[in-house]
Amino acid sequence: MHLKKVRVVKDALDANTTIAQANRADFDRAGVTVVNLMSAPGAGKTTLLERALAGLDSIAVGVLEGDVQGSFDADRLARLHIPVTQINTDPGFGGECHLDANMVRSAIPSLPLEEIDLLIIENVGNLVCPAEFKVGEDARVMVSSVTEGEDKPLKYPLMFRTCELVLVNKIDLLPHLDFDLEAFLRNVEAVNPEAQHMLVSARTGEGIEAWREWLIRTVARRGVPA
C-alpha cells in the first residue's frame, strides 16, 4: 500500500454554488426578484420588513423566514397578509447558523412563485456565516443598527463587502449613544466602496419610504439589460 497525491483544486463550496444557480434559474423562470436580507440578531430585520411591506401595494411580495427555532418572525409577517414560508435550520444535529442554497431549494415547492414579484429571504441573524453561502439571490442587503458600534464593517468585512445596500437602523437612538455615524460610514466605504446606505428607524418610520422605493426599483431593474 502506498500513498498517492491526487490533485483536486476545487472550490469546496461548488456544490452550494451549483444549487444556488438552480434556485436562481427557478426564480428567473417565475420572474421573481430575490433579496437576501442579513444582519446580526436583533438588528431589526423583521421590523424593517413589517414597516416596508405594510405600505407596499405596487408589487407582490413573499417572505422566506430562516430561523434556528420557532416561527416568531413568520407569525409577525403573516399578519400583513403576505405569503410567508418558514425554514427552521434545527433538524437535530445543532441548528445551522445560516441558510444555504439547499435549505432554500427545499422550500421552493412551498413558495407561491407565480403570485409574487419579490421574494425576501430573511436569513438567520448572524454577521459571519450567511455571507459565505449564496442562496440564488439577485441582491444582498444587510441591516446594521447603531447600537452595534461603528467598528463592525472592519470586524465583519466579508458581510459588508457582499452587500449592495446597508440599512443603518435605530437612528432614533443616536442622541443617546456614543455611536460615531461618520466613522461608521467611513468604515463601510473602506470595506465596500460600492455599497449604498440608508439611514432608517423602524421605530419612527424615518427612511422607510426610501427602503420601500429601493425594493420597488430592484424589482424594476429585472429584465433591464445591465
Binding site: K10, D11, A12, L154
Partner: protein, 118 residues
C-alpha cells in the same frame, strides 16, 4: 459555526475525488479574506468524516495572503486590514488577486501498488 457546513462540503469533495480509496490527508487552501477558523474546521472534520473514506484523515491547510492589484496604476500589495483602496493612487476600483480561496487542493489516498500488466 458555519465550519460544520464547510467541513461537510470538504468531505463531500474529497470523497468524490477519492473514488473509493482511503484518504489519509486532505489539503486545503484558505484565503485570508474568508472568515474560516481552521481549528474549528479540523474539529468538525473529524466528526463529519466518520463512516466515509475520509475517516481518520488529517486536514492540512495553507493560508493564502490577500493580494490586491490596482488596474489604474498597476500597484500590487498585500492587504493588512480590510481597507479596499489603492495605497498608491487611492482608487477603490481594485482587483482581488488572491485571498478568496476556499479550495480542496489535493488529497493523499492509499493505493495498491500497481502490479498489473503495463
Amino acid at each position: 459555526m458555519h465550519e460544520l457546513s464547510l467541513s461537510a462540503a470538504i468531505v463531500d469533495t474529497a470523497v468524490k475525488h477519492a473514488e473509493g480509496r482511503q484518504v489519509r490527508v486532505v489539503s486545503l487552501r484558505i484565503g485570508r479574506l474568508r472568515q474560516v477558523v481552521p481549528d474549528s474546521l479540523e474539529f468538525y472534520f473529524g466528526f463529519v468524516a466518520r463512516d466515509t473514506v475520509c475517516e481518520g484523515a488529517r486536514l492540512e491547510h495553507t493560508l493564502v495572503p490577500a493580494r490586491m492589484r490596482c488596474p489604474a496604476c498597476s500597484q500590487e500589495w498585500e492587504l493588512e486590514s480590510p481597507i479596499f483602496r489603492c495605497p498608491s493612487c487611492s482608487s477603490t476600483d481594485i482587483t482581488i488577486v488572491t485571498g478568496n480561496e476556499f479550495e480542496v487542493e489535493s488529497i493523499d489516498v492509499e493505493e495498491e501498488p500497481c502490479i498489473s500488466r503495463k
